[in-house]
């Protein structure tokens, strides 16, 4: 039976603009201005989903972002599909498709619904109790859980939309554009504060904008009429920026807030393309005015979750704002006067209100009298004890509450209805307030948590601060604005408000039924199917802390963070444990207030913008010559240059041989370079390196090892003395930024008396490293005028010269053991330098090699790579590099630590060479080393740090760290692998040219 429940006369619905959309495959119609929820309700569709655990049929419960039930998948099967969207927030557009989640095969017939009948087997903590043990069964459990619990499907293809980030700085940020937010923003902006007003809805005005209650008047107008005029005036105010469809997700310290601005979700597919879909606003506000309003609570009674049971305030909003009745026969269940406003709205539009069930014994307000006069039956001191109707509510049963309200008496009355509006009072939306670090207090009289201790420049105004009546709101807002913004006069001074008399309220957190609690299903958290019974069970099992009860029962742990039921959970715990509400504390609300898409979080940082990368000036040449690249820090470095389909191994073997036999060339531009100047530069180097620097002659180079203060090797590299007070330091590629940071730290904080200036010049120079026995001849061709004799330009020295008109710095240093030159030119000439070298080297078969060959060549020489052969636990002594540690220097960074008892232990892990007995077996880097095979457990002596097949030695070589390795020269050890044990022998780590004869070859 489908009947149209659209009422005429809503100015927010454009009935000339009819929109068709699909829900669960069926086509429906709504109008521009509808949400998916309002359009479905207008078509008398309440059943929209199944609950998470019991798969109970669930309907639309609310009209806003707090919705726990109506969670749908938008545009399934497309690359714009999005799961877990609240139907109450989706603005419909032509072509929109949505489906229910968490049901199979359909929302009408769901196999998981059987869980509902098995529910005695799904108590609180069920997942903890059942799925934790035995661990080996986890895979089976996981299969079961994943198939029966559906929380929507993520898209399988990439997101076609654009997302953006924007920084906003403002004097005043107003969150929430209800009556309080609008008045606050207006007065702030009028007083020259740069103001930003945001609201998650597409229309301003909050609930006051459809408040047509004839008993409340502002300046003799209904609140609705009056507020619309105020909203109209906002347009002409300077200094005020308004963002609708913008929800604040997070409120961090120092008034830093993140908001999601939704720009295209309400548009048809054809209008979405090439537009920014959502924008993350990063807002830094001098002052924040929270006007986040209040959320209506439901009441907790038996079977309170059937489709057709909704919040009373939602019934009112659907009627007044969307022009939709939620049922033909309506009943309200309440503990305060607000349900009467909803009832009156329906009554005024000619919709049938069967009865109002009120747990109070009376109310004196005018609106209650009006309902009585209208002939609507009010059951005072009654409660609902049960409801009926599986997929749609069809009746409620009510009974009289006992005097102490813990039980029910008398006879049961059944009232036929298809919609029940529930009003359990209002909870201030303090989520953002607490996220900011500010503290709440419990107000015993109002029975709510209220802002208490502000930690930031912030105020809370309106109902989120506990002011629910328009006269209180305006009076308190006025005073807070004056105090907080330091202003003398506001528009609010002159406003005249008449309101209905004070409401009486009555809180019963868990309403009794004629059935025992164990036989009831009174849902506290709808989304996670947590009932009052579950919470009581958790308490019986010994849980006391609210945070523990929350996790054990999963109350408040859904995507809605339990916005509706948290207060009831606390109330039930307090009542059961016999303590006061305020003493329990409250659960922590964490960002985001409403879920964010990954796209919004990531913004533009996708694809090649995901992480920045750096390329050397020679990069184009490497690409043209088919190099494979590897990531070294942020750098893209040429790894090897395969020719004619060579494998990596083949390419590296060829490159390594060529570099030693004739000539090789490496792009070394990525090495960190720090320019050091100042009259104390030599002294500074003395303090940061382990070896002595004062006597290094100008024009000479020296290798240095840098330690941390704990004595462990931190970085290494060659530093050249360019002048009396001028050095150029090189660092490892990956360590460049950290080394500069560390040096600056010492200069600024420990040795401010030193006259030293550091400048990073890594990007300023391009470096080609020319190596091999023919490197000298090649350089001679490029710079014929330069005297390359060993006398004039010996190993470890430097020349400043020119290649044509280009200035260059050449260091004769070597990381391969071959005769080598590192040629540095201004970065923009890098590619040109590289090509010159390649051209000049043609006749010598110059071979470009990448990082892999560089690693192999240096391993043949036993040169360490910091970060590969060291791991932050190796001292220079452990590396057998005692020669580089000055005994004479009084102090350097890390020196004292080398004499700690632990760093002087003989049995530390030490760097050694390893040779496999079978020269063709190449060890795996990271493989463990043992001395015994038949021991259990076996002692791990160390591990392999570098391992290669050396084409120049025609055998496998490796570097390893081994406990007490220095004393093990020649010892047989084992590397146990999965299928075999590899026999190895400890060797000198310098495998090739031990006497360094090739440096001058």
């Amino acid at each position: 039976m489908t009947k149209n429940l659209r009422l005429k006369s809503s100015e927010y619905i454009d009935e000339t603009n009819r929109i068709s959309f699909k829900f669960n495959g069926k086509t429906y119609h709504g109008f521009k201005g509808d949400t998916l929820a309002s359009a479905l309700l207008a078509n008398n569709v309440h059943l929209v989903g199944r609950s998470f655990k019991y798969h109970r049929p669930r309907g639309i419960m609310t009209s806003g972002s707090e919705e726990p039930n109506a969670i749908v998948q938008i545009n399934p099967g497309t690359n714009r599909t999005e799961p877990n969207v609240r139907a109450t927030e989706v603005e419909i557009y032509e072509g929109l498709e949505a489906t229910s989640q968490n049901c199979w095969p359909s929302v009408e017939f769901d196999i998981g619904g059987i869980n509902n009948f098995l529910s005695p087997f799904f108590p609180a903590g069920f997942y903890y109790k059942t799925f934790m043990w035995p661990a080996s069964f986890w895979e089976k459990y996981e299969f079961f859980i994943r198939h029966s619990a559906g929380l929507g499907k993520s898209p399988t293809s990439s997101d076609p939309d654009i997302y953006d980030h924007r920084n906003i700085h403002c004097d005043v940020l107003v969150v929430g554009a209800g009556i309080s937010g609008i008045l606050a923003a207006k007065n702030a902006a009028k007083n020259n504060f740069k103001t930003l007003l945001v609201d998650e809805k597409n229309e301003l005005g909050g609930s006051t904008v459809y408040e047509n209650n004839e008993f409340n008047k502002i300046d003799n107008k209904t609140p609705s009429e009056w507020l619309k005029k105020e909203i109209e005036e906002l347009k002409n105010i300077k200094n005020l920026e308004i963002k609708t469809r913008t929800s604040v997700a997070a409120y961090h310290q120092y008034n830093y807030l993140l908001a999601k601005e939704n720009l295209t979700d309400h548009l048809e597919a054809k209008d979405k393309t090439n537009k920014i879909r959502q924008r993350l606003l990063k807002i830094r506000a001098k002052k924040v005015i929270l006007a986040t309003g209040a959320l209506e609570r439901p009441l907790i009674f038996n079977n309170n979750d059937r489709p057709g049971i909704m919040l009373s305030s939602a019934v009112k909003k659907y009627s007044e704002f969307y022009g939709v009745a939620c049922g033909f026969k309506n009943v309200f269940f309440t503990n305060n006067d607000s349900a009467y406003e909803s009832a009156l709205s329906l009554y005024n539009k000619g919709i049938n209100v069967e009865a109002i069930v009120d747990i109070r014994d009376q109310s004196e307000s005018k609106i209650v009298k009006k309902i009585e006069e209208a002939g609507i039956k009010i059951y005072w001191s009654h409660t609902i004890v049960d409801t009926a109707g599986y997929k749609r509510l069809n009746s409620v049963s009510i009974m009289k509450l006992s005097n102490d309200s813990t039980s029910v008496t008398g006879s049961k009355i059944s009232i036929s209805c298809d919609c029940l509006g529930v009003a359990g009072g209002w909870t201030p939306a303090v989520h953002l307030y607490t996220q900011s670090g500010s503290k709440l207090k419990f107000d015993q009289e109002k029975q709510i948590f209220l802002p208490n201790q502000n930690t930031s420049e912030q105020i809370s105004v309106g109902s989120c601060d506990g002011d629910f009546k328009i006269d209180e709101i305006i009076k308190n807002l006025n005073q807070k604005l004056k105090d907080s913004l330091n202003i003398k006069e506001t528009d609010l001074d002159k406003i005249k408000v008449e309101i209905d008399q004070e409401n009486s309220k009555r809180n019963i957190w868990l309403l009794p039924s004629d059935k025992p609690l164990g036989k009831t299903k009174s849902f506290v958290d709808y989304q996670n199917d947590a009932t009052a019974k579950d919470i009581k069970l958790a308490l019986r099992e010994g849980f006391r802390s609210i945070e523990h009860v929350k996790r054990y029962t999963t109350t408040g742990m859904g995507t809605d963070q339990g916005k509706l039921g948290n207060m009831h959970a606390l109330g039930i715990i307090a009542d059961t444990a016999g303590v006061k509400m305020g003493e329990l504390g409250t659960t922590t609300f964490r960002p985001p207030y409403t879920p964010l898409t990954f796209g919004t979080i990531v913004g533009r940082n996708v694809g090649k913008f995901f992480d920045i990368f750096r390329r050397t000036p020679m990069n184009d040449w490497h690409v043209e010559n088919k190099a494979e690249f590897e990531n070294v820090g942020q750098w893209k470095r040429a790894w090897y240059y395969p020719i004619d389909g060579e494998t990596m191994h083949q390419a590296v073997q060829r490159e390594s041989k060529a570099a030693r036999e004739s000539a090789g060339i490496l792009d070394a531009s990525t090495l960190g370079k720090i320019d050091i100047q100042g009259s104390d530069a030599s002294e500074f180097l003395n303090r940061v390196y382990t070896n002595a620097w004062s006597k290094l002659a100008i024009g000479k180079c020296r290798y240095g090892l840098m330690l941390n203060e704990d004595g462990m090797v931190y970085d290494d590299g060659v530093t050249t003395r360019l002048g009396e007070n001028h050095y150029l330091m090189t660092t490892t590629t990956g360590g460049a930024a950290n080394v500069l940071g560390k040096l600056e730290d010492y200069l600024q904080t420990e040795w401010p008396e030193l006259d030293v200036y550091l400048t990073s010049v890594t990007d300023h120079y391009a470096t080609a490293s020319l190596c091999g026995p023919n490197s000298k001849k090649i350089l001679k061709k490029i710079i014929p005028d330069l005297d390359l004799s060993d006398e004039n330009f010996p190993h470890m020295s430097f020349k400043e010269t020119n290649i044509g008109s280009i200035q260059c710095r050449i260091m004769r240093i070597s990381f391969t053991g071959e005769h080598s030159y590192e040629i540095n030119v201004q970065a923009s000439y890098g590619k040109d330098l590289w090509k010159k070298c390649i051209d000049a080297g043609q006749e010598f078969n110059i071979t470009p090699y990448g990082t892999e060959t560089m690693h192999l060549l240096r391993a043949e020489k036993g040169f360490i790579i910091v970060g590969q052969d060291t791991d932050g636990t190796m001292t220079p002594i452990d590396l057998q590099m005692d020669w580089i540690v000055s005994k004479k220097k009084y102090d350097f960074i890390g020196k004292r630590s080398l004499y700690r008892s632990d760093t002087m232990r003989e049995d530390r892990k030490q760097l050694v060479g390893l040779l496999t007995d079978d020269p063709n077996i190449v060890l795996e880097e990271g493989a463990q080393i043992v001395s015994e095979l038949n021991q259990s457990p076996v002692e791990m002596l160390g591990h392999v740090t570098s391992s290669y097949f050396s084409p120049n030695l025609n055998k496998s070589i490796a570097l390893a760290v081994v406990r007490g390795g220095k004393e093990m020269m020649g010892k047989k050890l084992f590397v146990p692998m999965e299928n075999k044990n590899i026999n190895v022998t400890v060797a000198n780590p310098v495998f090739y040219d031990e006497k360094n004869e090739r440096l001058n070859a």
């Binding site: 830093y256 930690t455 203060e709 730290d745 600024q748 420990e750």
Partner: protein, 91 residues
């Protein structure tokens, strides 16, 4: 996300800064004179206070200058910021 008032640049977002641990621990002038325990005290021992703590911070993505901060770690309130070498403000 703190808003940090760099003494050289003014107010900047926390993202631009790097925390550098406890402040006012001077590197010993004569490390070789120290016992292992004394050296270990300098090297490893740091306070981790719930409450007012003195910290080093570096404007790493800005002027690269180091400075000191007094911060209440219980609520992240920055109570004072002062340059290296300056005396901490009286509490």
């Amino acid at each position: 996300m703190f808003l940090i008032n760099c003494p050289y640049c003014g107010e900047r977002d926390q993202q631009e800064f790097k925390a550098g641990g406890e402040a006012h621990i001077d590197r010993p002038k004569q490390p070789t004179e120290l016992s292992d325990d004394e050296w270990a005290e300098y090297l490893f021992m740091r306070k981790n206070i719930k409450g007012v703590q003195f910290e080093r911070w570096n404007h790493a993505h800005g002027c690269r200058k180091w400075f000191n901060m007094v911060r209440d770690t219980s609520n992240d309130e920055i109570k004072a910021i002062y340059k290296m070498g300056e005396k901490p403000p009286a509490q």
